[in-house]
Assembly symmetry: C2
Homo-oligomer: 186 residues x 2
DNA sequence: CTCAGTATACCAAGTAGTAGGCAAATACCG
DNA sequence: CGGTATTTGCCTACTACTTGGTATACTGAG
């Protein structure tokens, strides 16, 4: 496989398990099996790497959401699949989904990267809003009133749930926090 | 004032605005106006500092919750005051509440510190559970069914909302994500 | 013969933490 | 009380190490 994508895959793994500040080019180098300096050939700076990671993830994730929309006609099915997506990304509490891992990064990412991240959040919130809006018509989710507000709330909840689960290294924390959302499916 | 508590105050500020990994003893030293090595006299290692921070915060925060319980007899009032507590801690999107800032820390904190953090989360979840349980009787919150699950969900939501607001450097994101919780007060 | 990909060898800056000294406050004791 | 020991709080100066990044040379395939 392409070294460049191998690097991206390994880097994604590292970001999600240890955070963007939690790994160095040195770590990445040993994991991939080339020398540290060689990474710079593919991703000139760590900032460049961050941008490549977020951009790819955004694309892949939005594709997944599109698949869900295609396969699940009902609002309830879409919401449950969405929750599964976030749950699976956790790999049992030792990992975060990439967008959470980056949202949580403390060091200043370059402008491009934060823009991608914001765009990603906006896209997901938008998608969720359409789900709740659909629920107003198909009635497969309990107690929906304001789709836009509910979308933001749901996104915050899954992200917060991931963080709490990772902090406790206990994946069931995620489930506990998500239960009320799941229970809304009819 | 005591240098030791001045250090703790400044450190809390730094953790909340830049993360525990985002500041060094050197930063803290210049902010307080003593030399880096002198900090080690008060807090032997950065791990010790983390423990002191979390322990103090846990105490103060639980006191606040107790005050709320004392002043607000109704579940709705308690929930709204709780949300205000988290909103105020954000200082307009540039800061996190300390427990979120630590939950989000990627480097391995010492065992004592993570234990305090988990205890803190458990305490807050417990407090929220009693609020929702109260709501079952006084009826001042809409749509309460399972207090325990709702407590975990609410906690995840406020934590996630803080993170999204900070990532976007936009405090209104917090409000947007919290709106559905706020709207449940009768 | 070029050039992408890798390597060796380095750098400047920053990290947590240590060693040891020095002055002022405090405690102990005759 | 007076004087001696001890502690407190801070300092300068350092170590040992990691970080992201650079300069430059080698290698092999097209």
């Amino acid at each position: 496989m392409n070294t460049k994508t191998t690097l991206l895959n390994s880097a994604e793994d590292l970001v999600r398990s240890r955070g963007f500040d939690g790994f160095s080019y040195s770590d990445l180098a040993t994991q991939v099996g080339i020398r540290k300096a060689s990474i710079h050939h593919h991703y000139k700076t760590k900032a460049d790497l961050s941008l490549a990671l977020i951009t790819r993830y955004r694309g892949v994730f939005m594709e997944r959401l599109a698949e869900i929309s295609a396969q699940e006609p009902r609002a309830s099915g879409r919401l449950l699949s969405f929750l599964d997506l976030y749950r699976d990304a956790m790999r049992g509490g030792r990992s975060l989904c990439l967008c959470v891992a980056f949202s949580v990064t403390q060091t200043a990412l370059p402008k491009d990267s934060t823009a991608q991240l914001e765009g990603f959040h906006a896209d997901v919130a938008q998608w969720l809003e359409t789900v709740f809006r659909l629920a107003l018509h198909d009635g497969t989710l309990r107690g929906v009133t304001t789709p836009r507000a509910e979308a933001h709330a749901a996104l915050a909840t899954v992200e917060g749930a991931q963080i709490m689960a990772r902090a406790a290294e206990d994946a069931t924390r995620f489930e506990a926090a998500i239960d009320t959302l799941r229970a809304r499916a009819i």
